[in-house]
Symmetry: C2
Subunit: 137 residues, 2 copies
Amino acid sequence: MHKPLKAVDPYGPARRSAARMLIAQAVDATSGAFTASELAEGLASAGNGVGLATIYRALSAMEESGYVVRVGARGEAALFARCGRDGHHHHAVCTGCGAVEHVECHLDQTVGAAATGNGFTITDHEMTIFGVCKTCN
Amino acid sequence: MHKPLKAVDPYGPARRSAARMLIAQAVDATSGAFTASELAEGLASAGNGVGLATIYRALSAMEESGYVVRVGARGEAALFARCGRDGHHHHAVCTGCGAVEHVECHLDQTVGAAATGNGFTITDHEMTIFGVCKTCN
DNA sequence: GGGCATGTGAGAACGATTCTCACTTATACC
DNA sequence: GGTATAAGTGAGAATCGTTCTCACATGCCC
């Protein structure tokens, strides 16, 4: 079902609480990208109500440990996804099913070079890519 | 002072009200990227108080007519900039002075090709680039 | 087992943005 | 120039995602 993912500890050296374990399971059970409130709904409908604040805290802990990444935004809400891949890259999100595709970052060779041609030094960048996956196509 | 910009009507065929003219002037007087509330502050401190709702409405009218573009976000707030350049491209924003640099988009040739290799069709993408400009460097 | 640092939950707070509604005004038409 | 009216305005309420607060609960180390 899942592609093999880098085995990363969801929370690093932090404490293993019941709520955080439920949240990590819910994240693993989700095949694509999700928002914090979708996660909350999923947990609630499975009878595991977890406070929204707790979910946000768990998500930022997971983000910090590299277990999940922010892959863009759906409307106003931040979109997260499980990512175990190493190295700098971006994510394309399928607008149909939410599937996430890893995308190499060519900024350094292309856009970066173009920008620095004007004496501009890029320090940070973010890319949000939406599309339609093979299955939904 | 300014690079020559494509002469675009700020509001298209819409009505020329006093408030909108003030807002367009404030946008023109700003050399780099700005948020809606920065624009509001600037207008207020110049003695031209304009309602925030009006500024948002004017900005979306300007965005629609292509007079300004959304170049990313500073914290939670959307970052706008005057852009008269044709064709698809992105914008790099200097974190020091807010200066905006146009950046070619190489997504179609590079990232796009990589993604579609997996059967993924990219329909939409956004890029936010931050850095330091020649002057601030 | 005890102590305490850390996590939790509910709800308030926050900030950006949008909406509402009564009022004003630019513009088209006479 | 006068008038009708569609479009814009302003103030403030509403909305929505996210973060903060605070009292309480609980993992983990000794």
